[in-house]
């Protein structure tokens, strides 16, 4: 636990406090220990570094370089090799160092991983968990910061998971690894060290497609995932002081989607703000807004609102990047505008 860490997840019954990066490392360790067919491949993942952020620390030492397999800088081959191994009995965990680099191997992901079960009529399937990390706000500029979940949820055959807490990261990653479909597991590196939380010991699985009710409320629903869940929680605290009681729903997985939980919450509060870090245009928030309108038109007390990044590349300089990012102030102002 780092000094600045904020402790969350009071509902998880565990005394142990871990950072998200420790929780992910633990999930990988458990999966590698459980099943011989599980292996990792990616750039720089071997010890002593154990990856650019240290996600894999200790794992190549414990399981060997065959199973925690460093690769050249070769995204197409990383993804292709993972797919080929997956359709012949393995459970690979490829790492794409940063989400923007997934653009380099979209053919393998979109034309092959996502479609092989379907195109083969169910004869082959692709139990791959593609781990990647990303997020703006760190001054990494336009090619190292994008949230690209939009094109992924737009690709039938892929599952898309974005955890917000250490306990979820561990439980969702274990479920993803042992899931028989290709899962893209998006880790927002801002959360790696900034957020700590109670994390149960051992192997536990959190089902995909089950949203987490992060905070119960009655006046407005804030729907989010990843880093922005924490922003929503902070805004909910602020609003509570003024008597606005916000519910916060952390989707956790976008595909499969917990439509039921989303609609139940919005039907109850009759107001909704969808918050995501990806750019606004054609972001997943648009899909959620459409679904809510289709299902709950007439029951809403206000239009569905979205808070998302500006429709620009991610800028470098701090004030520009801050202007790009959806902020707590944006969320708060948008919620207040509904009343």
């Amino acid at each position: 636990m780092t000094a600045q860490s904020e402790v969350i997840d009071p509902e998880v019954k565990s005394e142990r406090i871990l950072t998200q990066i420790q929780a992910i490392n633990e999930a990988l360790d458990i999966a590698l220990g459980l099943d011989e067919t599980v292996f990792e491949l990616g750039e720089d993942i071997q010890d002593p570094g154990g990856g650019g952020f240290g996600v894999h620390k200790g794992l190549s030492t414990k399981y060997g370089l065959d199973r925690v397999r460093p690769t050249p800088i070769t995204e197409q081959a990383i993804m292709g090799a993972a797919i080929g191994a997956a359709i012949t009995g393995m459970r690979p965990i490829p790492e794409i160092m940063l989400m923007n680099f997934m653009a380099v191997c979209q053919d393998q992901l979109i034309n092959h991983a996502a479609k092989l079960r379907y195109m083969s009529g169910g004869q082959t399937h692709v139990p791959v968990t593609v781990r990647t990390t990303t997020g703006a706000g760190g001054g990494f500029g336009a090619q190292h910061s994008d949230m690209l979940e939009g094109p992924l949820v737009h690709t039938p055959g892929l599952k898309v998971v974005i955890p917000s807490t250490p306990a979820d990261a561990k439980g969702l990653l274990l479920t993803s690894i042992f899931d028989d479909d290709p899962v893209v597991f998006i880790e927002m590196h801002h959360l790696y060290f900034s957020i700590s939380g109670h994390v149960p010991e051992g192997d536990y699985r959190i089902p995909l497609g089950k949203a987490r009710l992060a905070r119960e409320g009655s006046d407005v629903t804030l729907i989010s995932w990843g880093r922005q869940v924490h922003d929503c929680m902070a805004v909910a605290d602020t609003l509570a002081a003024d008597g606005i009681n916000a519910e916060v729903l952390d989707l956790r997985s976008l595909v499969p989607l917990d439509t039921e939980a989303m609609l139940a919450s919005v039907a109850k509060t009759r107001r909704v703000v969808i918050v995501h870090e990806a750019v606004r245009r054609n972001g997943f928030g648009a899909e959620l807004a459409a679904t809510i309108n289709e299902e709950l038109f007439g029951q809403l007390a206000a239009p569905v609102r979205r808070v998302a990044a500006a429709n620009t590349p991610v800028p470098y300089s701090a004030p520009l990047e801050a202007a790009y990012m959806p902020s707590k102030a944006d969320i708060e102002a948008t919620v207040r505008g509904l009343f």
């Binding site: 067919t37 292996f39 065959d66 690769t71 050249p72 070769t74 197409q76 081959a77 993804m79 292709g80 090799a81 993972a82 797919i83 080929g84 191994a85 997956a86 359709i87 012949t88 009995g89 393995m90 690979p92 053919d107 393998q108 034309n111 092959h112 479609k115 092989l116 079960r117 379907y118 195109m119 083969s120 009529g121 169910g122 004869q123 082959t124 399937h125 039938p156 055959g157 599952k159 899931d179 028989d180 479909d181 497609g209 595909v255 499969p256 989607l257 439509t259």
Partner: protein, 329 residues
């Protein structure tokens, strides 16, 4: 480059001939069926390229893996994909290998080891690397054969795959079926080397340049590469020179292929040549060849009848096989 010596037993040549004749007859039947207007769709004839996969089929075990491309009918037949379900898949029938969901460009038949057919040029190579990696990690002794065209050797995936396969010494054979054209462009217009096999040197990979229409040379090349892969001696790049008799896709007017070049290639039809050679050498009698061909005729006719009389898929099946379990789409 490894020089290839020809010392192939008559039994092996008969096997190669039988597979090649099957591919040739199947292709003729398929095109005739299309011309008769009984089926539509795209068809990428592999007529002229039969000897390459037929030679491999004399070397491979049923448990070995083959990956191929949209022009893959020869590879699929040679690996032993049952003709009934294969044809039904081409016809989009519910009884097809992939229940009609894949089609000609996306045939998979796990039981016979035909693990992937891709419609994206070059994409099979990295996946073949993974198939071979899996075989190596599982210590299964299986070998992966990745087929692709001359044009595919220009795409990045080719180079990434060769590098990774060489680096990890994987049991994979990259088979470039150089039919001399990528769509409507002569292969030499697309590359700075005169032989694709030379590209193997960049990855210190065993590389073989071979006449893919010569069954003895092709068999030796296939055997050298597969034996090496199985012995743990890593990957091989084979450039097998060949020619496609009917252009890129059914309906291609072939104006970009010089008449004399095409005529010469067809005059040297490798299947007819092998047939004549086997008879001339006394390996097979005329009657034996006729008998083999009659057996293939029956098998192929039955497959086309099976496919034609098979039901189309039920529309309700359009939404299955997207995910493992029925999650909301």
């Amino acid at each position: 480059m490894t020089a290839v010596q020809s010392r192939v037993s008559p039994d092996v040549l008969v096997k190669i001939f039988t597979t090649a004749a099957k591919i040739k007859m199947y292709d003729e039947t398929y095109r005739a069926t299309m011309r008769a207007g009984k089926i539509g769709g795209m068809y990428y004839s592999a007529r002229g390229q039969e000897i390459i996969p037929s030679s491999f089929s004399a070397v491979l075990e049923p448990s070995d893996y083959v990956l191929t491309i949209y022009r893959g009918i020869h590879d699929q037949i040679a690996k032993g994909v049952p003709l009934n379900t294969l044809t039904a898949e081409f016809f989009g029938r519910a009884t097809g290998s992939c229940k009609g969901k894949g089609g000609p460009m996306h045939v998979t038949d796990v039981a016979s080891g035909l693990i992937l057919t891709t419609g994206v040029v070059g994409s099979g190579l990295p996946i073949g690397v993974g198939v071979a990696l899996s075989a190596k990690m599982r210590k299964s002794g299986q070998v992966a054969i990745v087929n692709f065209g001359d044009g595919a050797s220009n795409i990045g995936a080719f180079h990434e795959a060769l590098n990774m396969a060489a680096l990890w010494e994987l049991p994979v054979v990259f088979v470039c079926q150089n039919n001399q054209y990528a769509e409507y462009t002569k292969y030499s217009l697309g590359m700075s080397v005169d032989q694709i096999s030379k590209r193997g040197a960049a990855y210190t990979m065993r590389s073989i340049h071979v006449d893919g229409n010569d069954p003895e040379a092709m068999y030796e090349a296939a055997k050298t590469a597969v034996d090496a892969a199985r012995a743990g001696e890593g990957p091989t790049l084979i450039e097998a020179m060949t020619y496609r008799f009917y252009g890129h896709v059914m309906g291609d007017m072939m104006k970009y292929m010089p008449d004399d070049e095409l005529e010469a290639a067809r005059a040297a039809d490798p299947v007819l040549k092998l047939r004549a050679d086997l008879i001339a050498a006394g390996t097979l009698t005329d009657e034996q060849v006729t008998q083999i061909e009659a057996g293939l005729r029956t098998e192929i006719d039955e497959a086309f009848e099976y496919a034609m009389s098979s039901p189309l898929p039920d529309a309700s099946d359009a939404t299955t096989d997207v995910y493992a379990e029925g999650i909301a789409l």
